[in-house]
């Protein structure tokens, strides 16, 4: 069977649009609420990225850090994260889920144990922020055996030669970091420039799907809609923080935001 991630891209392409990928932190603001958020945004999001909160993140900006600290403070553990995914998948078997996190969390769980658990709970892809190529070769192979995509990150600092090697080894989906920034930074490069870089990468192997992330908001998403997929993370985490501050329901507010994001790329 085709990985649901590839199915989602296929569907978006048929509809002649970019796939919408959302990122939320597992357990933010509580275990129950983060499951509710996933359920409700899955109506409009094509692929759900679920963040494993970590307390020494080296690539996340303040919005995602706030979400992660909130989730950890509320007691989220690795097994709770798998439980959230299992519960979600019971109702949405074909909605693809990508787990995203830092390698220490996987190491402590045990690589094989972790992958088995990913498999049984229904995880379809993995992004490991601090496990770059070529260090990730062995782990990526293990993922493949479990029918899980290991998603390679590509950055504006990645040299052309390196891009080629990474893409050669990569699975069907890769993630292009739009600019030099932690997650959620202000978009300091013009969307046109981002797309120019995106096209260069795309040319190396047009069959592989490339999503763009970092700094994408309601305001900027429309200008990038010619990409295979677009990831929005910090803007959603910010919405959760804002809702909590104003004693509003994060589930409703985040769903509205995702609906709006979707409308901009249609």
């Amino acid at each position: 069977m085709l990985n649901p991630i590839s199915q989602a891209f296929r569907k978006a392409k048929q509809e002649n649009r970019a796939a919408l990928l959302t990122y939320t932190v597992a357990g933010d603001s509580s275990k129950k609420q983060s499951l509710e958020i996933l359920k409700s945004i899955s109506v409009n999001a094509d692929i759900l990225e679920v963040g494993i909160p970590h307390n020494t993140p080296v690539a996340d900006g303040s919005q995602i850090q706030t979400s992660a600290y909130r989730a950890i403070k509320n007691g989220i553990k690795m097994n709770d994260i798998f439980k959230i995914i299992t519960d979600f998948k019971k109702l949405n078997k074909n909605k693809p889920i990508i787990l995203m996190g830092y390698f220490n969390m996987i190491l402590q769980y045990g690589e094989n144990n972790f992958l088995n658990k990913c498999n049984s709970s229904g995880v379809n892809g993995l992004i490991v922020v601090d496990l770059p190529w070529p260090e990730n070769k062995d782990f990526a192979k293990k993922c493949k055996k479990k029918f899980i995509y290991f998603i390679q990150l590509l950055s504006p600092t990645t040299t052309k030669q390196r891009l080629k090697k990474i893409i050669r080894d990569s699975h069907p989906m890769n993630y292009f970091i739009s600019m030099l920034s932690t997650t959620g930074g202000k978009l300091k490069v013009s969307p046109n420039n981002i797309l120019k870089n995106y096209k260069k990468i795309k040319k190396i192997d047009p069959k592989k799907k490339i999503v763009i992330g970092f700094g994408i908001t309601e305001k900027t998403i429309g200008k990038l809609k010619s990409a295979d997929g677009l990831v929005v993370g910090s803007a959603i985490c910010k919405e959760i923080s804002k809702s909590l501050k104003h004693r509003q329901n994060p589930v409703t507010n985040v769903s509205k935001l995702v609906k709006k994001l979707k409308s901009k790329i249609l």
Partner: protein, 414 residues
């Protein structure tokens, strides 16, 4: 896992940056791969370049003030009654601590790479103070990341950084100490690696930073070896080198030249921060059997929970208050070349009292940890044993804490 002879320890890592095939590495976001590779190429080239080494030595001698003193602590030796107690007074160095070596080398590297701006982390404030000094000396703009808790407890160094023209960025995330300062500094580099050079303040972080820092602080043991031979005619037959260990930069530098000696002849004792006697929290991952994990891009022993979240530490000394430890020290521990133990906050304070009572030396709270263990062990050792303690920092920065914990007389008496 084995140490190799006649190869500097910093160069014993494999092509992925692992020591002993296991510790260190480069667990970094893709964005940092290129800047790290660039820095590696530059460093590998320059560390073999005689002109660069001459330039480094010129600054070490004329600006930092090498060599720092190697002195016998006669009164303390008499009081303890056992081994001879000596000290390498690294706090003589310009700025008052060993951090100046690494800061100077990073600024030299930044200049060579054409960068005009350097960033760094700091715990006790020494790494930040020295980087701000070196940046000023070499005409670089400077930004220092420091935990909000450390800013409050190490004010003298914060003032010094600002006086040197550096911008001090308070870090409010997590425990608001060194661990968070390093994370924030790395994050800043992720977003600004095209214009900024990064200095990691200790022998921690991605492999190249471990190597640069170790290469820089090794000046301490190069000097010590010469001084030992001057004093005793040769490297003593029974030599014990005591050093505090936080990230591990001063201890590594203090030991590097002696690694090839048999440990029976030259023993290394690393003293970690055990934290308050009554607290379960500590900053001693090697002593208290912390598990192996990844922190700030490198595999190491690190305080963490079963899930892999990094745990908060506690220590009276901001400079040792770090949940992880250099991959170099993990390697030295697992190969049994060095022995590691811990001293509590109270032990360190009491050692500070003893040392300042008998000697005209004022070790900061970090080396006071090493003095505590050295004094205890020296008692049981023979007179022909040479105990050397690296007094790697001056207590000026700790005067607020010392006054609060010990009373005014201990601050004024020196």
């Amino acid at each position: 896992m084995k140490l190799k002879k006649r190869i500097p320890l910093i160069d014993q890592a494999d092509k992925f940056g692992f020591w002993g095939g296991k510790f260190g590495g480069n667990f970094v976001p893709e964005t940092l791969k290129k800047p790290i590779e660039d820095l590696e190429i530059l460093f590998n080239k320059l560390k073999k370049d005689k002109k660069f080494i001459a330039e480094r030595d010129k600054y070490f001698k004329n600006w930092i003030g090498s060599p720092t003193r190697f002195i016998k602590l006669e009164n303390l030796t008499k009081h303890v009654g056992g081994a001879q107690i000596w000290s390498k007074v690294v706090s003589d160095a310009n700025g008052g601590a060993h951090k100046i070596y690494n800061a100077t080398v990073h600024c030299l590297l930044a200049k060579k790479s054409g960068k005009k701006f350097i960033i760094g982390d700091t715990g006790a404030g020494y790494a930040g103070k020295m980087l701000s000094m070196a940046a000023k000396k070499f005409g670089l703009k400077c930004k220092i990341f420091m935990g909000a808790k450390d800013i409050a407890r190490q004010q003298p160094n914060v003032k010094a950084m600002k006086k040197n023209g550096a911008e001090v960025i308070p870090v409010y995330s997590g425990s608001q100490t060194l661990v968070d300062a390093v994370s924030e500094c790395m994050r800043y580099w992720v977003a600004n690696c095209d214009t900024a050079a990064m200095c990691v303040g200790s022998t921690v972080g991605p492999a190249v930073f471990v190597r640069i820092c170790g290469w820089s602080t090794s000046q301490i043991s190069r000097e010590l070896k010469v001084q030992l031979i001057d004093e005793f005619g040769s490297v003593p037959k029974k030599l014990k080198l005591y050093n505090c260990v936080g990230g591990g930069s001063s201890s590594f530098g203090f030991w590097n030249e002696f690694i090839d000696y048999d440990k029976k002849r030259c023993e290394f004792i690393g003293v970690e921060a055990g934290g308050p006697a009554k607290s379960k929290k500590h900053a001693a991952p090697l002593t208290y059997g912390s598990k192996i994990g990844i922190l700030h891009g490198a595999v190491q022993y690190v305080n963490q929970n079963s899930d892999g979240q990094i745990e908060e530490t506690e220590s009276i000394s901001a400079g040792l208050d770090y949940p992880g430890i250099s991959p170099l020290h993990c390697f030295l521990k697992d190969t049994k070349r060095a022995r590691y133990t811990a001293a509590s906050d109270e032990d360190a304070l009491s050692a500070y009292k003893t040392v300042t009572k008998f000697e005209k030396l004022r070790p900061s709270l970090e080396p006071s940890h090493a003095f505590s263990v050295a004094i205890k062990e020296a008692k049981k050792l023979t007179k022909d044993t040479i105990v050397v303690v690296n007094s790697c920092g001056d207590a000026y920065k700790d005067r607020g804490i010392l006054e609060k914990r010990l009373g005014k007389k201990y601050v004024k008496s020196n």
